[in-house]
Subunit: 301 residues, 2 copies
């Protein structure tokens, strides 16, 4: 899994700070998460092959998370896109996009599928052999979901030397990877565990923006390899944070600690701050494995 | 009049090329003309005091001319704007903007006035003592207007030395500027022309994007001080230009020549070109006073 931060600031686009958008690459998949104004320019700037994006996940319908979507959809049309595009987001997103395309008489020539969300329970949005994507119901001023990207347990890893040692024919290799015991050339069964090793632990990425401090998400994001949790404010502005239903760096770290995640990445900084190290310091007092999101930064998960 | 080009490219925003938006400053007024995605960032980059913008003119509802509007409106809200904002644009613009603000539960706390247009005749949109703004009906794939900004004839300029020489009292100076003949201290009438000079010729700016070659606009833009006319293509792509209802550099120059404008500025270049000098060269064969728009370029009119 490779996460590229296209923008990690709140509220308004500025010339040196982009509002929220991220790209997650998982074994050939390229998922776009949120799409603020300017996202298509950031995709080009970061040299993301964005024609490969087939699924876009929108957390909520505040401008700093979705005002770039209609432009990206239009650009796909202008670039001659042919493949389907799936948009997952709160109810209303379909009408907002289609109305604008209609006004410009600019309907797409590729297929656009909207998956509108209104459930307050976790919901599987996408699933294949490689991973699943599930909503993480968040608590904000409008209906909002985070997204949990979970790799599936891979095939067992064949130890070829051991397989030769146990005299197992090559034609069984696929079965072995799938976890079966298989016979050797004399017909004696060979235990799968003797000739395979465990596959690598599946990785997971939990995206949680925007939300107030909300412990209800902890069971769902438990042990996530990487958690991106918004930290719009520092504790010194806890009252404002609470009023606007955002989180402080300390609160993000508390969630990370409760969930026992691998790494916490902070972002969605308010424009009032210029020293982002203060976010890291505040969070690290509670959860040491904290890093800062930064426009253009890449996290290998 | 001072015209700042915020973006002058067609179709899609790129990291080094912005789609259409311009700011026109006229004696204290700051008018925004079109508002593509990224316009608010360009306003900041060019250090335009954009809180001063009170009137926004949208030519048509293609994304490269209006996808940045909802973001700018939202940013005004976040910056605590209190003054009214007037938006002039094609029918449908109001619903498109308000729907998005509603979805984010983010209505403005300042007053937003929409002036929706559907007339195919020139229409005065704004008028005060200084200038008027009139639509220029254009011909494109969707309903489109250009905009004509015309300064009014100013007061006559008082020649104070002459006024003293003719023994006219100061209390008459305002009347003199308004063009009246006034008495001297002995009661003899003094001809206005003897103690004033002509005010400077009123300037005008005609904005014409997007449009195919459309001679019908010529009478309206006759003798404009500056004409911005789209030139999406070069003549080598005349067929494509015609099909998409755009203009070539040559056609823009022909319009400028027919209208006898002072200066022609070209813009709205298609992304297929990298050498913009070719646009200038093609146009200058017909109309020598041709210049190229360029992101960030300022024209003193």
């Amino acid at each position: 899994m490779k996460l590229t931060i296209l923008g990690c600031h709140s509220a308004t686009p500025r010339w040196d700070a982009n509002p929220t958008a991220q790209v997650l690459e998982v074994k050939g998949h390229l998922f776009l998460i949120d799409c603020a104004e300017g996202t298509q320019v950031q995709l080009r700037r970061r040299k993301v092959k964005f024609a490969r994006i087939k699924h876009i996940f929108i957390s909520h319908l505040h401008g700093d998370h979705f005002f770039g979507l209609v432009g990206l959809i239009s650009t796909f049309r202008l670039l001659g896109r042919a493949s389907d595009l799936h948009i997952y987001g709160p109810q209303g997103i379909k009408e907002a996009i289609l109305m604008q395309l209609k006004l410009g008489n600019s309907y797409t020539n590729y297929k656009l599928f909207f998956h509108e969300l209104d459930s307050k329970q976790p919901q599987v949005l996408f699933e294949d052999d490689i991973l699943s994507v599930t909503t993480i119901p968040l608590k904000h001023r409008v209906y909002t979901n985070g997204f949990l990207f979970q790799e599936k347990v891979g095939d067992r890893i064949l130890d070829i030397d051991k397989a030769k040692e146990f005299d197992v024919e090559m034609s069984y290799f696929q079965k072995i990877k799938q976890g079966f015991d298989v016979p050797d050339t004399k017909g004696n069964m060979v235990a799968n565990a003797s000739i395979t090793i465990d596959p690598s632990t599946p990785k997971s990425y939990a995206y949680c923006s925007d939300t107030c401090y909300h412990e209800a998400i902890v069971p769902q994001i438990k042990k996530a390899t990487l958690l991106y949790h918004e930290a719009t404010f520092l504790e010194q502005h806890a009252a404002l944070s609470s009023k606007t239903m955002h989180s402080t760096a300390k609160q993000a770290a508390s969630i990370a600690k409760l969930a026992g995640v691998g790494t916490l990445v902070l972002g969605h900084y308010s424009g009032r701050y210029s020293d982002y190290e203060a976010f890291k310091n505040e969070a690290q007092e509670i959860f040491s494995q904290t890093q800062l999101a930064q426009d253009g930064k890449v996290f290998d998960i």
